[in-house]
Amino acid sequence: MEKRVRFKSAWLPWALIAPQMAIVLVFFFWPAAQALYQSVLQQDAFGTSIEYVGALNFQRLWDDASYLETFKITAFFSAVVALGGIALSLLLAVFSDRIARGATFYRTLLILPYAVAPAVVGVLWIFLFAPPMGVVSYALQSLGLEWDHLLNPDHAIALIIMAAIWKQVSYNFLFFVAGLQSIPKSLIEAAAIDGARPWRRFWTIQFPLLSPTTFFLLVINVVYAFFDTFAIIDATTHGGPGKSTATLVYKVYYDGFKALDMGGSAAQSVVLMVIVIALTVVQFRYVEKKVQY
């Protein structure tokens, strides 16, 4: 049986999606078109002299050996942040789902970080890890580990990964909790009566039934790691030491807003846009096949 609603009017459906289309046009297509346009221009900071330079800005990226290095850092950073963030929040959600008393209290606490601005997140983590006085770095020191994210690249990347995951855990957690609650209790009870242990119930019932949520979060988290993390990096490591925490989006921000190289920055955001579009297509084309709705 056909479930689809059919509109008799010709204009009504268009009118109904118009607000949404307007938002997408203004907030996505227009800036994206601007980025494309600016990426073929070279201009001074104030835009008083603008020159068409074709693919020169892209050529410069291609010739820059450190740009390739930035790709590797970004790939590593994004993979760890997206997968780590999802895994951690799934774990928290499953645990909080099993709590009988005070669940709302724990959930509220877990959702709180989402209300913190990314730059503030960066500063908070800097406080914790500032050598030698930060609470965590002090504790690490007494365990014999000299924490120094200013000079040790491994420490620096670990720091921004932790901060980025911490920021996103709440968001993921919220969706997982909702997802878990929508799984009928009867299914789990039936499995329990059949003698399935919690671990098995999770893997064979809850996890597969959560797959739409997990897939959605995968897409969102990849986009988050690629685009939304520059404020954290700017507040903690500034891309250092060397270039070891300079991700693609941080470089876009730095070249555009600090170095005032609009053309170069626009070219990089076009590259970034292409990557994220490609990744999203891959996710919908291949990963989504494993999702059961």
């Binding site: 500034h238 250092g240 170095a259 005032l260």
Partner: protein, 437 residues
Amino acid sequence: MKFKPYALASGVLALALSGNAHAQVEIQWWHAMGGALGEWVNDLAKDFNASQKDYKIVPTFKGTYDESMTAAIAAFRAGNAPHILQVFEVGTATMMASKGAIVPVGQVMTEGGQKFDPSVYVPAVAGYYTAPNGQMLSFPFNSSTTVFYYNKDAFKAAGLDTDKVPSTWPEVALAAAKLKASGHKCPFTTSWMSWTQLESFSTWHNTLFATQNNGFGGTSARLAFNSPLHLRHIENLANMAKQGLFVYKGRANAPDANFVSGECAMYTGSSGLYANLKRNAKFNYAISTLPYYPDVPGAPQNTVIGGASLWVMSGKKPAEYKGVAAFFNYLSKPEVAAASHQRTGYLPVTKASYELTEKSGFYKQNPGTDVAVTQMIRKTTEKSRGVRLGNFVQIRTIVDEELEQVWNGKKAPKEALETAIKRGNEQLERFEKAGKS
């Protein structure tokens, strides 16, 4: 509380009268001074507004130097730039190249009907903001330079003579070793790596940081900080880092906090740190000149300026420019400029304000506050006039990135300096090309 009804009433009155009485001209001033310095900027505007009736300066804090510059650029593109914009010294070449966006200060002053004599300003400061044709392009507002600070209490605890300043780099290393031996965790650190350890270091030793007289000769300048002297200094610092005598504390002025909190004992940084130090340091400190290598002929010469200047943006009404000129004239008054210098630790803007400060006995009462001035007021050479390069923000970041790999032992000093020069020169080539087109 008492003033409020009065202020309100006068506000209403002003509104009512604004139809026929001539209204105050508002002048927007975007700046990047936070904390103690932000209060200083607000006081300047308040005092100027109280001193006359025609103009009203409205200062707005727009974040850090680069944030306020970005904000002004966005505003300019949208057609509502402020009248006055504070731009840090590394943005100078960018501003100079943006010819349509700014009005030279010399022109604003003469057209605004103010008596304007560029020779009253301290040459080493004003020279930096002057075009090759002799026209002053921006108003030297808060110029700082690099100085050396040390914590007297830490010196005492380490058994060092608190009054004997380590004035050369070998002496700094010796003092650092003693501090370390006494259990000090951070004997020496620095802020603004490129500014203090390469730019000021170069002029202090009368050596070029970049060709074409550090960029003053034209945009074909290329970086030159791979001389044996530069290499020797970076190797020296790398050795100190290895022994824990020099501890790296981050980029820009982030390490200010490490000195002000007492964590680090010796420090090279901006003379503008004085206001903060005076208010927050809980230990005895002293200010001195930058260390140098005593065997280098011509050293010590003079240091380079930092800080910022005020630029006048284009496209405003003549009456508003008149107000800007009146405000700059006010800031140049000896007593105003002297008070600013004494309050902040920034350099005196005019020679008269320096003399006034000296006469008042301020330097005697606050030992060390004259260090920045004496470092700057010397006669400069072609090599030491300052460093003015295009894409300077990127070049400083490149220096940070490369030298961080020296401090963590991943790169040899020579390799790092060569790479920094190669990468920096790409920026300079690009700036040169953009200027020609």
